[in-house]
Subunit: 114 residues, 2 copies
DNA sequence: CGTTTTTGCTACGATTTCAGTAGCAACAAC
DNA sequence: GTTGTTGCTACTGAAATCGTAGCAAAAACG
């Protein structure tokens, strides 16, 4: 049985603050959950095991990590490969590409904050 | 006295899961807080008053909205203009630009999820 | 084989964050 | 002066997250 966690936001489904379920709103809900951006970021390179990913994220609790991974798998952004670990799907990798310029921006931002 | 909310992540300061305070980590912490992405999104157009912004976000609680706005102002991403309301700073607008492709991505994503 | 590690997770109580409603001070309009 | 709007603060209960412990399965080791 595939178990879609009832908490995973999906396009067309009502999400936090948006009854319409417009894809971009759903995405913002999904990405706005704690650790999600960080998890995607840490998966930018090679696949990571559950524990490696947990460590990369500074030791977040396994319950939360597992919850986030379930949502991301359910959303076809992350997948789990046997004997390799967790990795981004092609789609997930595209998403991360969109987010890549954030590094450059954050450097400038840091300077402006002194 | 300027009151930097002790919870506002800042480059160089330790953030959730990252003792280094690398700018991009700090940014991910900031953006990963609930409602932040949505708030930036809703401010993409004209300035909005507190209540208008609250309504645009589907009626999130004023306490959370106020907390997020304080963090974003503190981070020089959002500013409050007298008689106009809240708006993105130049910097904040740049950040949003980096995020803009998310709309297109989310459309494709929605289709792939059926 | 038996033992030790590693891995992927689940359980659970403590803490933090968020939701939801109420309401207040300041200002403006009527 | 009363009604309305705005920007918020306060408060309580619900939900999300933290932090630690631990367990079953698989791998590595001897």
């Amino acid at each position: 049985m595939t178990k879609p966690p009832k908490t995973t936001p999906r396009p067309g489904r009502r999400v936090r603050g948006s009854a319409t379920g417009r894809p971009v709103m759903v995405l913002l809900d999904l990405l706005g959950r704690r650790w999600v951006l960080r998890i995607l970021w840490e998966l930018r390179g090679a696949p990571l095991t559950f524990r490696a990913l947990q460590a990369a994220c500074g030791g977040l609790s396994p319950s939360v990590l597992n919850a986030r991974l379930a949502e991301l798998r359910d959303s076809l952004i992350v997948e789990q490969r046997p004997d390799e670990g967790y990795t981004l799907t092609r789609q997930g990798r595209e998403l991360l590409t969109q987010l890549a310029p954030l590094t450059a921006w954050s450097e400038k931002w840091a300077k402006s904050l002194g």
